[in-house]
């Protein structure tokens, strides 16, 4: 069993969803329930194997890659089919493997217009393959391939099942990320040609740690990666695709986008950019830090000005990812750990918020904040869940969000030795101000949607029902995890810490 997992575990979780999608291809389009069931089964199987992997993971050795798969792939350019799991990948893989089945379950009776579950569910499964693949790939080319695989299904998801402005949003999303990818691949290639050993193997590149690459070159290459990953995160000022994409995407798309897709960018920073190009990272760190903090404040202010609930949540993503990036920019163990935690917490919490927004939209057919109100009366449980998620999102201690924010703020007090302490301390104070604003916009949202009495328009609307069974099933795991992670942060920190120290050591050259 262990042997089997060692050799096949990662391949299975990566490609099982794809197999599921292929099977769906041969099932006729009319068998809608079969498609949904297939999708749940395929992603569920991946989840089960992920859980087995988690059970067999050696947590004491979380800093090294486990379940390694190392096959020859494109020998011509020294690119191998290398998959591996370590403390940085693990939480993200686990979260992806969890979120996708939940989304599939949620889709059981929430297929957005214009229907066609076959295509819709297939796209979700392909997405899962791309996302998990990106997180476990240990070869730059392989990573890039998976990274791009994610792009197309999401494009179609927004473009076909999205809201009224879907075309604009989907093209914007597509072009933006593609632009980033282009610079990223250039960075990868130059890394390949300039590094001491011409290889795409991440293990080797980490070990080399930018050896033989001149400082200026490192800065340039890092710049390319910065664009590629920064757009995905998204960092200010490359974030403008996000509100549009989120607002227009169907609920499932938003959830996956918020929960997993954004993490590809931050993951890229931690996994690739920092350890491969230490000097580049040190040069860029203050810039990243400043942009991250601008993002925090700017995202929060943006939230305050929104009238659409989904758009507000989308802007809050900008702010939250700002904390993640601030943590990364400090190049400290606390910072990287906070970033890793922040990624998972943001995935769960914002994913949850988008679920709720989707369900509110299903009931009210609008997300305009000023038309909502009295949710706690019309649908009390939904209102409670919204309140709970808002509290988690504003970083309430005892819930998951806090452990992404506070350590990030803490780490900025004392960044890595080569960074400017005064700058980062200023950033710390401003970031702390961001937590106030976060409380402001989330509570303000909550007050206007949930408190008060329902407007006449929706007072006796029979469509406004409380949380349905399907919704409970798909939400409960996330809600439980938000609490559990809030009280037992060690569940994640235990795993990420060994790996984060490796990254920090590589990035600061200590």
């Amino acid at each position: 069993m262990t042997d089997f997992l060692d050799n096949w575990g990662l391949i299975l979780i990566t490609f099982l969803p794809l197999v599921g999608a292929l099977v769906m291809m041969v099932v006729p389009k009319e068998a809608e329930d079969t498609h949904k069931a297939l999708a749940i089964v395929a992603s569920g199987a991946a989840l089960v194997i992920t859980i087995l992997l988690l059970a067999n993971f050696d947590y004491d050795d979380a800093g090294t890659l486990q379940f390694l798969v190392d096959k020859e792939w494109i020998p011509l350019i020294n690119s191998g089919f290398i998959l591996g799991l370590d403390g940085i990948s693990l939480p993200l893989v686990a979260m992806t493997a969890l979120v996708v089945p939940l989304v599939a379950i949620y889709s059981w009776n929430h297929i957005p217009e214009p229907g066609n579950p076959k295509a819709f569910m297939a796209l979700i499964l392909i997405l899962e393959t791309g996302m998990i693949g990106s997180f476990v790939a240990q070869d730059l080319i392989l990573f890039f391939v998976f990274f791009e695989v994610v792009l197309l299904p999401m494009y179609f998801m927004i473009g076909v099942w999205g809201g009224p402005e879907r075309k604009y949003a989907s093209i914007k999303f597509f072009l933006y990320t593609l632009f980033g990818s282009a610079l990223m691949i250039v960075a990868f290639l130059s890394l390949y040609f300039l590094s001491a050993e011409q290889t795409f193997d991440m293990r080797v590149l980490t070990e080399l740690g930018g050896l033989d690459i001149a400082r200026t070159t490192q800065i340039l290459i890092f710049g390319g990666m910065f664009m590629g990953f920064g757009i995905k995160v998204p960092m200010f000022p490359f974030h403008t695709w996000l509100p549009d994409a989120h607002t227009q995407a169907p609920t499932q798309g938003s959830v996956i986008l918020a929960a997993v897709l954004l993490k590809l960018g931050t993951y890229g920073f931690v996994r690739i950019a920092l350890p491969f190009l230490p000097e580049g990272a040190q040069w860029w760190a203050p810039i990243i830090g400043v942009l991250a903090v601008i993002g925090i404040i700017y995202g929060a202010l943006g939230c305050l000005a929104q009238s659409d609930m989904k758009r507000l949540i989308a802007f809050s993503s900008v702010a939250h990812m700002g904390f993640v990036m601030l943590g990364i920019a400090t190049l400290t163990d606390f910072g990287i750990n906070a970033a890793m935690f922040g990624m998972v917490a943001h995935g769960l919490i914002t994913g949850m918020l988008f679920f709720i927004a989707g369900s509110i939209k299903d009931r009210y057919h609008t997300l305009e904040i000023k038309r909502l109100g009295g949710l706690l009366i019309s649908a009390p449980r939904l209102g409670w869940i919204l309140g709970f998620s808002s509290m988690a999102s504003l970083g309430l201690p005892g819930l998951a969000g806090f452990w992404g924010e506070f350590p990030a703020i803490l780490s900025a007090y004392q960044p890595a030795p080569m960074l400017n302490e005064a700058l980062f301390r200023t950033l710390m104070v401003i970031a702390a101000l961001g937590t106030v604003l976060a409380a402001g916009y989330l509570l303000w949202l909550y007050q206007r949607t949930a408190f008060g009495t329902p407007s006449e328009e929706f007072a006796d609307d029979p469509e406004i029902t409380d949380v349905s069974t399907i919704e409970w099933i798909s939400w409960a795991p996330m809600l439980v995890l938000i609490v559990v992670l809030g009280f037992l942060p060690s569940l994640i920190f235990d795993v990420t810490n060994p790996a984060a120290t490796v990254v920090v050591a590589a990035a600061t050259g200590s």
Partner: protein, 781 residues
């Protein structure tokens, strides 16, 4: 001892109660309130037992040493120096390994049997990490000797600390964040206060909110509120304090906004939460500073020891204490961040009682008291005459009392009274009268809870109105029990001898060290004394005014008011009796010629005040009869003037003063508008952030960033279309087509290049020229 090492049961029990009420409350016969009441009753019992254990703990460990904590400690710095040089080796016997780095590395005595024993079955300890080794044997055995010398024998408090690893951080877990309990007199006494007030509030609430829309949720959150506060009180690490602190905040949010259907209530809840968030900024930053200042440790014990022993630079301590003062200002309703507190009256009255007496607002005071070395050293409290903490506190004490004068709502009077009394406590902490602050917290909890619950009782009778000016009056005869308890509590608040408030307030006033003949204080805070006396006068006066409106005169409301039921009056009676007598717990050693026997005086101080490396060397002001008489006279005057004004109709020149005198009018307007702070915060700051600033950010997003993106996008699309139309469709496609159709059509390719539109040619021509020229120019250069 078992109770001291297992105090985690208390918050856990309340948290469990919260979950149970939430899950099953609605199905139970009494809608879940029984779970809450039972849980909190058990908590109360446990806290009593814990207090007993602690009493035994400090007495058994030091039975041979005398509790001469009083003035002996303040006699000179030589004692302190000696004390620092030779720490008591047994001082941290009861600190579990891994909970405090300083203790682990430094002078650690033998591992006590209890500690080893207690690491038995409970899961908390199974997680425990035991890094660091017992450096046993390094401790000099000379401490005992030094105790014997001169009969000083300052007893060292042995805090009982238990912890478990929360999560590791850094290289091989170089920093371990722990969660656990730190039990000493301070936390034990808070356990008692929180649980007794909470218990009475629970009992009271079963009647008061009976039949409420969200009865079950109400009790669930009461439980969570209590749990959070207990969690906070027992914190072993600062990060745990942050968690408890914020949880308290969110519970108060939920309870203040309990009736969220009405917008003012949810506004008040939001205001409370957001104001606290502003202060939390300070908390987060302050704790961060302390973490790094204490050489990467979150342990309260570490921070305190290092701060007290001067291992942290003064600048850092000052910075940290200023940041933390911001947090205290918001949480404890100190002046300029106090505005949320009166608004928080929107919640149900028992909640107000809980917030004001035992939980929310007390958290700030407790925070300062807990990290007292940081403040004591950082603000240089000893020997100084002014510092931020004292200024904030004294200002609040004075201005809060003024505000209470113009309120019509009895709850708001009490709210401002709390603001003012919290100011007393903060001042006490600021001038170094730590014990006085704790003692005042204790007595204040009793009588203020009584006052709030009494106000609730009146409103219960008078159709849920709190407007004492318009709807109350003459309740003295109708509600005798409420009346008498209210009177006793008012007397205590005003500081009338011999009620509890007199003793605690007098201790604070003496602690300023400013009054003639004052002895033993830490510094000489003249300004503070003056402001506090004004505050004390105000307190007596506005409470007398409130009593007039509530209980005397004619009934001005409508309907038939009636005395409340036993579930409401019994808590009142309990609290009023406590409020009357608890003052005797901390009798001074001697009042003039009368000196009390050892088993009577300063019992509270011995119980609560830590002595040892983790607490600064503070001294205690001795009882000063002239000061006591003076403060009594001030309070008496405060009662007398309103008495003349309201009861006797005297003081005619003061009547309608604000209509005749411009200065008085301005003063009243300012007071009615609460010094315009609400306006400043709501309209100016919040309005600016939510309005222009947020809109500007959004505009920037839509019109600058997005416009750039769209422009680039459109340019790209147009270029794309151009390329597609002219090159792809014509050239490439054309090439494919031409090659596919016939090879004989020579020039077919060229033919397709010609779209016939001259301007496209022109564009291509110029573009090509420019490019070529560019190439040449660059190449040639």
């Amino acid at each position: 001892m078992w109770f001291l090492t297992h105090t985690w049961i208390l918050p856990a029990l309340m948290a469990l109660s919260f979950v149970l009420i939430l899950l099953f409350g609605k199905r139970l016969p009494r809608k879940g309130s029984e779970i809450g009441v039972v849980a909190v009753a058990i908590c109360f019992a446990l806290s009593l037992v814990t207090a007993g254990s602690w009493w035994n703990h400090i007495n058994s460990d030091h039975s041979e040493s005398e509790h001469a904590a009083g003035e002996t400690l303040g006699t000179g710095s030589a004692v302190a120096a000696e004390h620092l040089e030779e720490p008591d080796p047994a001082a941290f016997d009861d600190v579990q390994d891994g909970c405090s780095r300083v203790v682990d590395e430094g002078a650690v005595g033998e591992h006590t049997e209890e500690a080893g024993h207690s690491e038995g079955s409970d899961e908390e300890h199974s997680l425990a990490l035991t890094p660091g080794e017992n450096a046993s044997g390094t401790a000099p055995p000379a401490a005992g000797a030094s105790q014997a010398e001169e009969g000083e024998g300052h007893a060292t408090t042995k805090p009982v600390v238990r912890c478990a690893q929360w999560f590791p951080m850094g290289l091989e877990g170089s920093t371990t964040i722990t969660v656990g309990t730190m039990v000493d007199g301070q936390s034990v006494f808070m356990l008692f206060v929180v649980s007794i007030i909470s218990l009475l509030v629970h009992i009271y609430s079963t009647d008061y909110v009976n039949g409420d829309r969200r009865y079950t949720h109400y009790f669930a959150f009461l439980s969570l509120f209590t749990a959070s506060m207990l969690f906070f009180v027992l914190s072993q690490s600062t990060i745990q304090m942050i968690v408890g602190w914020e949880l308290v905040g969110v519970c108060s949010f939920a309870l203040i906004g309990h009736w969220w259907e009405e917008k003012p209530n949810s506004d008040a809840a939001l205001k409370a939460f957001l104001t606290n968030r502003v202060g939390d900024m300070g908390l987060l930053i302050g704790m961060t500073v302390l973490y790094f200042a204490a050489d990467r440790s979150f342990s309260i014990l570490d921070i305190n020891i290092m701060a007290a022993e001067g291992e942290i630079s003064h600048g850092l301590l000052l910075l940290a204490s200023c940041c933390l003062i911001a947090a205290v200002m918001s949480k404890s309703g100190q002046f300029i961040l106090h505005t949320w507190l009166p608004d928080a009256m929107a919640g149900p009255t028992p909640v107000s009682a809980l917030i004001h007496a035992a939980t929310m607002v007390v958290a700030g005071i407790y925070l300062v008291a807990r990290l007292y070395p940081v403040f004591f050293e950082g603000l240089s409290i000893a020997g100084s005459s002014v510092n931020l903490l004292a200024v904030v506190g004294a200002t609040t004490a004075m201005f809060g009392a003024f505000l209470a004068f113009v309120q019509k709502d009895v709850k708001k009077v009490l709210a401002y009274s709390t603001v003012s009394q919290l100011g007393f406590m903060v001042t006490a902490l600021g001038v170094g009268a730590w014990t006085a602050a704790m003692f005042h917290l204790f007595t204040h909890a009793m009588f203020k809870a009584c006052l709030f619950l009494g106000a609730g009782s009146m409103s219960h009778a008078c159709h849920h109105s709190f407007n004492m000016v318009d709807d109350y009056g003459g309740l003295r005869k109708i509600m005798p029990r409420t009346f008498w308890t209210f009177i006793i509590a008012t007397g205590a608040l005003a500081g009338i001898f011999p009620l509890s408030g007199f003793w605690s307030k007098d201790e604070i006033l003496a602690g300023t060290g400013s009054f003639v003949g004052a002895e033993g204080a830490n510094g000489t805070y003249h300004v503070m004394l003056a402001m506090l006396v004004i505050g004390a006068f105000g307190t007596a006066a506005y409470m007398t005014r409130a009593i007039w409106y509530c209980f005397f005169g004619e009934y001005r409301g409508h309907g038939e008011p009636h005395e409340s039921g036993p579930r409401i009056t019994i808590p009142l009676i309990v609290l009023a009796s406590l409020g009357a007598v608890v003052g005797f717990l901390n009798l001074p050693k001697e009042i003039g010629p009368i000196s009390f026997p050892e088993s009577l005086h300063t019992q509270f101080e011995q119980f609560v005040e830590p002595v040892g490396r983790y607490f600064p060397e503070i001294s205690h002001a001795s009882f000063n009869i002239p000061l006591a008489l003076f403060s009594l006279a001030v309070a008496g005057l405060g009662v007398l003037l309103p008495y003349l004004y309201y009861w006797k109709g005297g003081l005619a020149p003061l009547r309608n003063l604000s209509e005749r005198n411009a200065l008085a009018r301005v003063g009243k307007t300012v007071l009615v508008n609460k010094y315009y702070f609400d306006w400043l915060y709501t309209d100016v700051i919040t309005g600016f952030v939510k309005g222009p600033l947020a809109r500007a950010a959004n505009w920037f997003n839509a019109h600058v960033l997005d416009a750039i993106v769209n422009g680039v996008g459109k340019g790209a699309v147009l270029t794309g279309r151009f390329v597609y139309d002219n090159i792809d469709q014509e050239v490439v496609d054309g090439a494919v087509n031409a090659a596919g159709t016939t090879a004989s059509e020579t020039g077919g390719v060229l033919r397709h290049l010609q779209s016939g539109r001259i301007q496209q040619y022109a564009a291509l021509f110029f573009a090509a020229t420019a490019l070529l020229a560019g190439v040449f120019v660059v190449a040639a250069g």
